[in-house]
Symmetry: C2
């Protein structure tokens, strides 16, 4: 039989604003944050975005083991009781899916059709990974450590366990955590229970869920999710660059009340506070947030950063006058990067950090 | 200005399997159950389906009050501390969205494009509502009790708080609960925190979230969500019948491993156990579940019902032979109702309880 696991539709033959049943199915399976929960420092359980390549495995945490293997002097494995007894760290960390904003890039890659909603901030609890790598004593010729999940499936006809890799320096410098709790509770099955890593500052694909294996490699990792996807590419024959740190970005809580279908917003005239969140990768601080009504950019007030690797609040007092308005927000970080107005081109729709636009109607009568 | 809150696209001018940006946006906002979690008696937090008409309000539970008002002899209000001190009941209850399956009905109503995933079972904790209604002493001419949420928005140009009604008999007979905990934890914001009702056996629209008002009415409730939508209609000029009890239905955990985009499944040849859930409304028990490979129906084994108002497990030993197969399941309840093979027609796509179909490929070589 023909291989039914090579995707039936290929790359950029999608039409702007038109989606088929597979894309609709992905949008139903994968969950976006409700933008109204950006009002909260910590995203509520179940409102954190969720992108699952394959199926969510249902794992018995009493049976689960994490294996440190490959080119280690001292390979070992740990069960969940042992992992929970290690030194404990809790940190709010903002994660964004690198495909967030894909639907705004034309032509659109045939994949999960995110608009703005694939971001969230949780309190993650776990133990630093670097000391465990040190305990396992990598051979001197080790170049990378790979992370493999329990989840198995097909992408472009290639069957594989979800896997990613990092260098020893990245594991140390990024403060990678081996995580078992989320918002003070054991990981939910769909967020990687009983064990995952969190790679602060990087897009979400690096934070491997349902982690079963940490392997020391003497050659670069060639796993599908490292080499075939999650690369910035200008064209199909571009070898590309790996997707890593999150780009500077911001979102607002859409003000007013919505229409059920279009999500157009209705607002009473007068002064209102618009608020939202801004973040960047690699621990870079947010230095500026601007707010615009119909393209007229003004400085917004920056509030506290929720944590070293978490988003920063912002707010702006807006005088809502009757009529239709397009509201936008734009953040800059300490490296001098600012969100672009139009989406940066990427073949697979990765890393779109263009400004959000929200259409509102301020009423002179009932909306 | 024109009213931007009348939906820009109207009813059945949708094309099968083709979705626009508004429908894609609704699919991103609203979350389906991951069908693999049907393996669990209780749907994990965050994996329960979620359909939100407007925005999720962020409510301070310390400030929230529930008002019993209208045609009561003894109107009163309660805060959350008072409600939590009332007699407590915990019950597993299965809820399904009445729009579940909408995408399988042609022509499709322009609304949230569910396929199979809008169902879930949680352990809901609260207090029975009937004794509180009794305490408020409805006037003798009361015909209905309405339930109003904090959430406000527009549908078809009509601004309204989400509201629904039930008769006094329905509140008593359906064992309606005033609920504040879900799976042993305070309601999540997106599931109605701090207070909602749960109407066991009915489709989800009756279980009003973010409940602020219980009003005794001497005339039938005319709220938008009671009279304009959630009605079974054959055509646009059909007055229709209200959507109430869930129809008998079943789902399977799709066996094997998926392709990331198409969700086609790959299975090793040999005997496997396919399992799933079946449920019906109005407390009706499941009496039969059948499983089919390529239309060859066989009796499946019925397992325990998770609770009086919750789904029933089932399983079937299937001998997977190489090739492509369409797997289906079909439940019957004690009233003699059986799931149809093809979707029952409804103008708005409500109540589609047709059998699920899952395409699988059993490999003779790698999928």
């Amino acid at each position: 039989m023909n291989n039914p696991f090579v995707n039936p539709k290929k790359k950029p033959d999608t039409e702007d604003g038109v989606y088929d049943d597979f894309e609709r199915g992905l949008a139903n399976r994968n969950s976006g944050t409700l933008l109204e929960t950006l009002a909260l420092d910590i995203t509520p359980l179940g409102a954190h975005y969720l992108l699952t390549h394959f199926d969510t495995p249902i794992i018995d945490s009493n049976e689960h083991q994490l294996h440190f293997e490959g080119a280690f002097e001292n390979p070992f494995h740990l069960d969940m009781r042992q992992i929970r007894s290690l030194p404990k760290v809790t940190m709010p960390i903002t994660l964004e899916c690198s495909g967030n904003g894909r639907t705004k890039i034309s032509p659109r890659r045939y994949s999960m059709p995110w608009a703005y909603e694939a971001v969230g901030t949780s309190e993650w609890t776990g133990t630093p990974l670097a000391p465990l790598i040190k305990r396992a004593r990598p051979h001197s010729e080790v170049v990378e450590i790979s992370f493999t999940g329990v989840d198995y499936g097909y992408d472009a006809g290639v069957g594989h366990y979800f896997g990613r890799s990092l260098t020893l320096n990245q594991i140390r410098n990024l403060e990678v955590l081996l995580v078992y709790d989320m918002n003070g509770q054991p990981l939910l099955p769909q967020h990687g229970a009983p064990l995952r890593i969190i790679v602060p500052g990087w897009y979400g694909m690096a934070s491997v869920k349902w982690l079963k294996k940490v392997e020391a490699l003497t050659e670069p990792f060639l796993g599908f999710q490292q080499t075939q996807t999650y690369r910035f590419r200008q064209s199909a024959d571009d070898e590309g660059q790996p997707v890593t740190s999150m780009r500077v970005k911001s979102l607002m809580v859409p003000p007013g009340v919505p229409d059920w279908i279009s999500r157009n917003r209705c607002i009473e005239p007068g002064k209102i506070t618009v608020n939202g969140r801004a973040w960047s990768g690699a621990g870079k601080k947010i230095t500026k947030v601007e707010f615009a009504s119909n393209g007229n950019w003004q400085a917004a007030e920056i509030l506290d950063q929720v944590g070293k690797f978490a988003w920063t609040g912002w707010r702006y007092q807006w005088d809502a006058k009757p009529g239709k308005h397009v509201l936008q927000c734009r953040a800059s970080d300490e490296s001098g990067e600012t969100q672009p107005i139009t989406p940066p081109w990427d073949l697979a729709g990765f890393g779109n950090n263009a400004v959000q636009s929200v259409t509102v109607f301020v009423k002179d009568h009932n909306c």
